[in-house]
């Protein structure tokens, strides 16, 4: 029998091994994540495992999964292979919320204030985005609303940096903005996991709607899956995932943009076919990047971990160049 949705036999045959391979890779990376740390490689004592390595490893997998899936869904919903989860501006709003907590010193007095303020920023940003885009948004209006929101958040962020109360606050804010998962606790995990899981559950259900959109909005509407509703559901899911992810991990770029491009050559380009694989590959990619961030100080004479967001950008940029060359060919 032919695969789901009349896939080509080749891609249908490849889909199962690719998903199984990704799941195995993810399991290996999760194990490595729990066994690697500042104390070196090996099984740590229970406190380190539960308080440090588990939250960090689980967060890397969760945030990465959400980013990979968000990228695949947004590219499908906007019919554009260049769409990135950062496009909607929710990440910028979460950053702004977190920076506000730094700025007024709330995070120094009460540690959970940082992720909570990030979540609040993301929630406010999502409300603004959905209000601007309307009940049945069109692609361009959603992008414009997202760009406006990003610009607003970036401007307020720059203002917070310029007016930072002291150089320490400035350094703290700048470093946090680079993105990272060092010293995250079970509390961060508890705050981020529910919205990310909810968002992923919502986004994973959009496969059929994204397929319907492949031939354009008119065809999607005639197939009973109007584009406006698809975009709205995608925006809500992405806002949940990216808002919560940024609130605990800061800005982590390129994962959402790159992951679907890595998968299409192996799985074909049907948008619905790459959703679950993008979730797995995003988790694996961010886990691998975080492992690299943790191991680099053990291997190289570095005084501290390189920021995770910087690493993903360093790894992602060459991939983008390759994609650009392939598209031009």
């Amino acid at each position: 029998m032919d695969g789901a949705g009349g896939q080509p036999a080749g891609a249908a045959v490849r889909r199962v091994p690719v998903i199984a391979g990704l799941a195995m890779l993810l399991a290996v990376l999760l194990a490595l994540g729990l066994l690697t740390g500042a104390a070196g490689f090996g099984v740590p004592d229970a406190t380190i495992l539960w308080q440090l390595r588990l939250p960090r490893t689980a967060l890397a997998a969760l945030v990465g999964a959400g980013l990979g899936l968000s990228g695949a869904v947004l590219q499908g919903a906007l019919r554009n292979p260049l769409a990135d989860p950062g496009l909607l501006g929710i990440g910028g709003c979460a950053s702004l919320g977190a920076v506000a907590a730094f700025y007024w010193g709330i995070s120094a007095a009460f540690a959970p204030a940082l992720p909570l303020a990030g979540l609040a920023g993301a929630a406010l940003g999502s409300a603004a985005l959905l209000a601007m885009a309307g009940r049945a948004p069109a692609g361009p209006s959603l992008i414009l609303a997202g760009v406006a929101l990003s610009a607003l958040a970036a401007a307020l962020l720059a203002m917070a940096l310029a007016l930072a109360p002291n150089p320490f606050a400035l350094a703290e804010i700048t470093f946090w903005l680079m993105g990272g998962l060092a010293d995250r606790s079970l509390l961060h995990l508890a705050l981020a996991a529910p919205p990310i899981a909810l968002g992923c559950a919502l986004l994973l259900r959009l496969g059929g709607r994204l397929d319907a959109l492949a031939l354009g909005e008119e065809v999607a509407a005639s197939l009973g899956a109007p584009a406006g509703r698809t975009l709205l559901l995608a925006a809500v899911g992405v806002a949940l995932v990216v808002g919560a992810g940024t609130a605990v991990a800061g800005g982590i770029g390129f994962v959402g943009l790159v992951v679907p491009h890595l998968l299409r050559p192996a799985l074909g380009e049907r948008p619905g076919a790459i959703l679950a694989p993008s979730l797995l590959a995003g988790a694996a990619l961010l886990l691998a990047a975080d492992l690299l961030a943790r191991s680099l100080p053990l291997l190289l004479p570095l005084s501290a971990e390189p920021p995770l967001g910087v690493l993903t950008a360093l790894l992602g940029a060459p991939f983008l160049v390759r994609i650009a060359r392939r598209m031009a060919a």
């Binding site: 009349g6 319907a212 492949a214 354009g216 009973g224 380009e269």
Partner: protein, 236 residues
């Protein structure tokens, strides 16, 4: 009683961006017939088709299982295979049945292209893939916007013959066509649209002279040798 599969549309006025596009529309399309919408550019043919498909605000929504709409110039955003494009027609049914997809590919003559990417085949082949998507839905009514545009004459005849046979087999088919030759040869019914109104509606022989007038072209008999439809006997 109205036969199952008949679609009706009554619209006193359709305005797009404040400009009236359709007026006094009151039509019904029955199964078993190939109806062709003809008329000058800008007469409202595409708008009428979209209204029939229930895609304009204020038009009755249609059941996507029973009606398939193929817009002009639809393009896939992704390099899906022809088989995957055809399988999109199963979305309204929420199933992934293989048999209707295989039948659709066979009807449109593109079984051999099943694994080919839609963005790496010719325009005529891509058009057949879009048609196959509609066939895979197995609807009672097909609404097709210029399915023969920019096809070579043989391919255009093949598509029109396929649509005529589909109508003979019991489905309703409404097509927008510009080539009046094709409309005359294959359609059971012609509807002439001029400035948003249906000004003539009937068998091709009665509507075509009025269409000529609408286009401002002379109407008469041309004795010169010309391209004949497939299967026509050439004069000795």
């Amino acid at each position: 009683m109205i036969a199952s599969g008949t679609i009706k549309l009554a619209l006193p006025l359709v305005a797009l961006a404040g400009r009236p596009v359709l007026r006094d529309i009151d039509v019904a399309f029955a199964p078993g017939q190939l109806a062709a919408l003809i008329g000058p550019n800008g007469a409202g043919k595409t708008t009428l088709l979209r209204a029939l498909a229930g895609l304009l605000p204020g038009t009755p929504p249609r059941d996507p299982k029973r009606l398939a709409y193929v817009p002009q110039g639809a393009r896939s955003a992704w390099g899906m295979t022809v088989g995957q494009v055809a399988a999109l027609g199963r979305i309204p049914h929420g199933d992934q049945r293989e048999a209707p997809v295989a039948r659709a590919l066979a009807a449109c003559g593109i079984v051999g292209l099943r694994e080919a990417r839609i963005d790496r085949i010719s325009g005529g082949q891509a058009r057949r893939a879009m048609l196959a998507r509609a066939f895979a839905t197995e609807p009672e009514m097909f609404l097709l916007d210029e399915p023969t545009a920019d096809l070579d004459p043989a391919a255009a005849h093949a598509i029109m013959a396929l649509l005529r046979d589909t109508a003979r087999a019991g489905a309703g088919v409404v097509v927008v066509v510009h080539a009046l030759d094709l409309a005359r040869l294959y359609a059971d019914r012609l509807l002439l649209l001029v400035d948003g109104r249906i000004t003539a509606d009937g068998p091709p022989d009665t509507v075509l002279p009025r269409a000529a007038a609408a286009f401002g072209l002379p109407w008469g008999i041309d004795p010169a040798p010309r391209l004949l439809p497939p299967g026509a006997a050439a004069p000795a």
